[in-house]
């Protein structure tokens, strides 16, 4: 555990409908299966409808708060680049960002380019890895609905999350409904090829 309090803190940032809660469930199940204490926080209802969404997952020896404090995230998943940027609130110099190379336009304000967003990132942190998860999933699996699961699988396989890949695989089998299981297992396999 990199955090000095024997905890690992993950923030996921994205847009409503990107399946953040599924990823949260997979990580939570995997952490529990490895004997960790787990707490998560999510939002439903109004806050979900295509707006900014943020979920927190914490695991370790003993977890009190379901919310991660400012600057205390170990890993931030960004399922969309602009949303990932908002995650800087939870980042310190040590925090890793794993960001989907994908921009979903915001109806107000001027649209941001990839370069502009990366430039802002660079002001705050060096640890940003941009992954074209949506593109890869669309190309190989014909849907980007699994790009979050792809990012998670990649992170675990690269050792960015202190959980065993096998625990994540088991958790996917437990959480994902039968109908979509094959697609998600393919996603995991695709990530292991690219890791």
């Amino acid at each position: 555990m990199p955090n000095r309090l024997d905890q690992f803190n993950i923030v996921i940032k994205g847009v409503g409908g990107q399946g953040l809660i599924t990823i949260l469930q997979i990580i939570a199940e995997a952490a529990l299966s490895e004997g960790h204490d787990v707490k998560t926080s999510e939002l439903h209802g109004l806050s979900q409808r295509g707006g900014s969404v943020e979920v927190h997952i914490r695991f370790g020896k003993k977890i009190y708060s379901p919310l991660i404090a400012q600057g205390r995230a170990d890993l931030i998943f960004g399922l969309e680049m602009q949303e990932a940027l908002r995650g800087i609130y939870f980042a310190s110099k040590k925090t890793n960002f794993l960001v989907n190379k994908q921009i979903t336009p915001i109806p107000v304000g001027k649209p941001s380019s990839e370069k502009e967003l990366l430039d802002i990132f660079k002001k705050y942190t060096k640890n940003v890895t941009l992954i074209p998860a949506s593109d890869i999933c669309r190309e190989k699996l014909e849907t980007d609905v699994v790009s979050g699961v792809y990012l998670l699988s990649l992170a675990v396989l690269k050792g960015l999350v202190p959980l065993k890949p096998n625990s994540i695989l088991k958790a996917i089998k437990k959480i994902i409904p039968e109908k979509y299981l094959e697609l998600n297992l393919k996603t995991f396999n695709l990530a292991s090829k690219n890791a």
């Binding site: 529990l32 707490k39 998560t40 310190s92």
Partner: protein, 557 residues
């Protein structure tokens, strides 16, 4: 979901706070469950909707929260173990039935779940703190902080209700209801035969609140509360965590705030005594007095209004009149707490230096507000209106449901927004008041939006009022055939319940002459009807029937 019914006492599964409440009710042997959906309480109903049959529980989505509670009261009077769930505003809706229920008390043990939403993540209207209703209703309030406590407190609430014959409220907040954590399971209560003692038995003295009996009932209620106060004094859910007492500092807290306090103490490497209150009402006053007696300063960590802070100040007068009570001076009354706010407050309170790691980000990315789904049938209503009327000259009434997003750009069709049913009630007042305006001004026109679920919930009396007292707003009933915003629950008019109740005959029976049921995909007919109805001197109604795309998807599946 099936895991929730697992018969594995001692086993640990990950549950959402709301799911843990369901499990707690199952372990207590609940028979009857009613609710009206509302975030952050919705998953309680959604979960029961899925498992009720298998679990042998009666479950219903009621028309509104008042009806849900009334159904629950009937079940309780008939001896059933009853659970009623709602969000904070639902408690306002059912208050009329709630107060006498405290007076009569329960027969079958009854637990009411109320979920508050500090920071209004999923709520318009107000940042309501339901705790205040404890004082109005004399109903015990318990406040869990995590999913394990959600389960355990629900079970305990049934026991308290059974012992003292009084309804018990469990108050959660978003960060408790939507928190996931491992929960240690107990045993699900199984009925071997039918429920013993079920069935309504006449007992006038017990169930009829007619004066002068009602005042005797109040005296009995107050006596009950005194007994429950004693129970609260010795209850392990009011927990003392002993720290180093030499500092003469201590913290009193409850609910999710307790988790932030423990996090803060860990981070600051402090060891202060903490009194965590599981009972918000009635408070264990002796326990609090013993806790504050030796202290110089106490910090009260609670969200929203300073109820515990004021109670502590009051109790300190008896035992420690020099006690410094801190709370809202360090943490705002607006918005939810979080670990960083509480850590900063605890640090300041205990003169400990603490620096946040990163400067607050000045964000260059604009806010991404929630929007209607792509393909939402409401877009067709918006486009018809924008094509047909001068939106600057028409007043638009808003309500609670997906269509409250009409208030966000780029739609901007919302000139007031209150509670369910109110778009129609307020419309009537505005149209009546317009007769006071100067004759030189344009005649005011008003279109109010109301969802089908909201129409059944609280819209019908308001519509009748416009007919009875004669005003002429145009109502557009957005009949998308589901309660979409809270997660697509069925309602009385939804086809998910076979032969859903038709809206047009209700509107006609209310005395409305100008009614048309139109699928808004027929844009021309829709536009022409808006134009025609806006000229009427009486109230008019358009029922827009294009379904939510998630309902359409389910139907076609």
């Amino acid at each position: 979901m099936e895991e929730l019914l697992l018969d594995k006492p001692g086993g640990k599964i990950i549950l959402l706070g709301n799911e843990a409440i369901v499990r707690g009710a199952l372990e207590a042997g609940v028979n009857f469950v009613s609710t009206y959906p509302g975030t952050p309480a919705s998953e309680i109903g959604n979960t029961f909707f899925k498992i009720a049959k298998k679990a042998g529980v009666y479950f219903e989505f009621s028309t509104n929260e008042k009806v849900a509670l009334e159904a629950g009261i009937g079940a309780s009077f008939s001896g059933l173990k009853t659970l009623v769930a709602m969000k904070n505003f639902g408690l306002n809706v059912c208050l009329d039935a709630l107060l006498p229920f405290a007076y009569t008390g329960t027969k079958g043990p009854t637990v009411i779940i109320v979920a508050d939403d500090p920071s209004c993540h999923s709520s318009a209207q107000s940042e309501e703190n339901s705790r205040g209703f404890a004082y109005v209703s004399y109903i015990p309030f318990l406040e869990p902080s995590d999913p394990q406590e959600c389960k355990d407190f629900t079970k305990l609430a049934f026991q308290i209700s059974e012992k003292f014959k009084i309804p018990v409220i469990i108050r959660t907040t978003t960060r408790v209801a939507h928190q996931k954590a491992p929960v240690k399971l107990g045993e699900i209560f199984r009925y071997r035969n039918e429920v013993s003692g079920a069935g309504f038995i006449k007992d006038i003295k017990r169930f009829v609140t007619l004066p002068p009996r009602v005042l005797e009932m109040k005296e009995e209620l107050l006596a009950k509360i005194e007994k429950i106060k004693e129970f609260s004094e010795s209850s392990p859910i009011n927990q003392l965590y002993r720290g180093q007492t030499s500092a003469k500092l201590g913290i009193i807290t409850s609910g999710v705030s307790y988790l932030y306090v423990m996090e803060a103490l860990q981070k600051l490497n402090l060891s202060l005594p903490v009194l965590k209150l599981g009972f918000f009402y009635p408070l264990p006053e002796k326990k609090i007095k013993n806790f504050i007696k030796p202290l110089k300063k106490v910090l009260i960590v609670e969200e929203l209004e300073p109820f515990l802070e004021k109670e502590t100040e009051r109790l300190a007068k008896d035992v420690n009149c020099n006690l410094k009570v801190a709370g809202k001076e360090l943490m705002s009354e607006v918005g939810e707490l979080n670990p960083e706010i509480v850590t900063a407050a605890v640090a300041k309170f205990s003169n400990k230096k603490y620096k946040f790691q990163t400067p607050v980000l000045k964000l260059q990315v604009p806010k991404r507000l929630p929007v209607l789904c792509p393909g939402c049938p409401y877009w067709l209503v918006i486009s018809a209106i924008k094509k047909t009327v001068d939106v600057n000259k028409v007043i638009f009434g808003g309500e609670i449901g997906c269509y409250m997003l009409f208030g966000n750009p780029p739609v901007n069709l919302q000139d007031y927004l209150f509670c369910m049913g109110s778009s129609v009630g307020i419309a009537h007042g505005i149209m009546k008041a317009s007769s006071f305006a100067k004759a030189t001004e344009d005649k005011r026109k008003l279109i109010t939006f109301i969802g089908d679920s909201s129409f059944f919930h609280a819209g019908i009396p308001a519509l009748i009022n416009t007919v009875f007292n004669k005003s002429n707003p145009l109502l557009i009933i957005l009949a998308n055939q589901t309660t979409a915003m809270t997660g697509h629950q069925p309602h009385p008019g939804a086809p998910a319940t076979p032969d859903g109740i038709k809206i047009e005959p209700i509107v006609r029976a209310c005395g409305v002459k100008y009614v048309k049921t139109i699928d808004q995909i027929n844009q021309e007919e829709f536009s022409n009807t808006i134009k025609e109805f806006l000229e009427k001197d009486e109230v008019s109604v358009i029922i827009a029937t294009n379904p939510c795309k998630f309902v359409a998807k389910k139907k076609n599946a």
